[in-house]
Amino acid sequence: MKLEIDNILINDIRLSDETKIEKGVLYVNPAELRAQLLEDPHIRDVAIDIARPGESVRIIPVKDVIEPRVKIEGPGGVFPGMVSKVTTVGSGITRVLKGAAVVTAGRVAGFQEGIIDMAGVGAAYTPFSQTCNLVLDFSPAEGLSAHEYERSLRMAGLKAAAALGEAGKDAEPDEVVVYESLDLMEGAKQFPDLPRVGYVLMLQSQGLLHDTYVYGVDMKQSLTTLLHPTEAMDGAIVSGNCVSACDKNTTYHHQNNPVIQDLFEAHGKTLNFAAMILTNENVYLADKERSSDWAAKLAEYLALDGLIITQEGFGNPDTDLVMNCRKIEATGIPTVLITNEYAGRDGTSQSLADADPAADAVISAGNANQLVTLPKMDKIIGSQAYVDRLAGGFADNVLADGSIVVELQAVTGSTNELGFGCLSAR
């Protein structure tokens, strides 16, 4: 399966009477987009705004971040099973508006949503201070349940990203990158002397607004399964999460998973990127046992020599992580884990809720409990009214000078467990 990613480099977004790309600028017709999003009766209103790198702007509370894209060749469309028909993606050509992002925000669906600061201290902790963001600030219809609202917000973000992506059809790409994964037999023959390395992507699937969708399927309803890495890169996985902002994988993270990109980079040089396993993080112990059994079984079945495992979220998913590690290691296949830590504000507490001697190679994406003071911003998109109630916030955390104190937990993408960031710990 071969996927060509055509990047159109976007360095600004401006509102206009036409949605188009010209000389690296994405022009958006807000009236047209607004009308399209308001077709959903669950959405009472949406305000469209722009946040650019370096501007004194805070976006709060942030639900999801999505990269605008369009499929111009090959089967399927963007976000299959959600926005497009449920056709297998991961081959052909996909155009990416690189440098642009859609950010969904507004009244919280769950109380675990995040902060993106475009300038100041906070900007260094979130990757989305570096993208030009089209921010959709939603107001829900009256009487909507949290689940209905989450679904509407999720779909609106995806629809908006798809709508903006359409502008990529008429633009020239600035760079082209090709990714290819072969079938099992050919892949094994291609680099027979290199270690066969696989990737286990754990997806948040605890329910209660902690969900991830694969081709439209709620991942908690799936057994552990296989996916071509290029499918993951091509929008097959979308976030429906309202979990702690620091370590949830937004849809943007799934579209740009650095573990997959780096494994492709190393493919044929130091390793043979052989397979990708997709698993969940459910709330029943039987599910945890079954899913981790399957991860180990598939790893063995695929004759892998090593596996990278990434977690999403924290708390009881630490057990899924450790179970995956322990069971895969028991088959004789070494693992490396990527996770983050909740080690207390002083960093001295136990980092994970579970542990095992088999977990002897762990990469930390930082301590989510670390406190950070975010300076007052000139402009707030959304509402700062919930800042004490976000996960990572606490009572009276707005200081006299207007700055706010939060744990890194509240900053979108700050301790991302795919390693999509700069934080680590030793």
Binding site: G207, V283, Y284, L285, N316, T319, A353
Partner: protein
């Protein structure tokens, strides 16, 4: 004094060092199952509780998980 830990994620219960562990239903609803009709759910709840009481009155040498029958 003996203590029973009723817990959904028993591996964490093991990690934190509980001696008598009884598996619960699920993290959002450890002691019940809202998917069941009330009468059946009552049976589930009763079984978990009686297992816990049995565990409480059982001598253990090592960390022990008492499966709910």
């Amino acid at each position: 004094m003996p203590v029973v830990h009723i817990c959904t994620v028993t591996p964490i219960s093991m990690t934190v060092g509980a001696n008598r562990i009884v598996p619960a239903v699920a993290i959002p609803h450890p002691l019940g199952n809202p998917a069941l009709p009330p009468e059946e759910e009552k049976q589930v709840r009763r079984k978990i509780l009686t297992t816990a009481l049995e565990a409480l009155s059982t001598e253990v040498e090592l960390q022990t998980i008492f499966p709910v029958k």
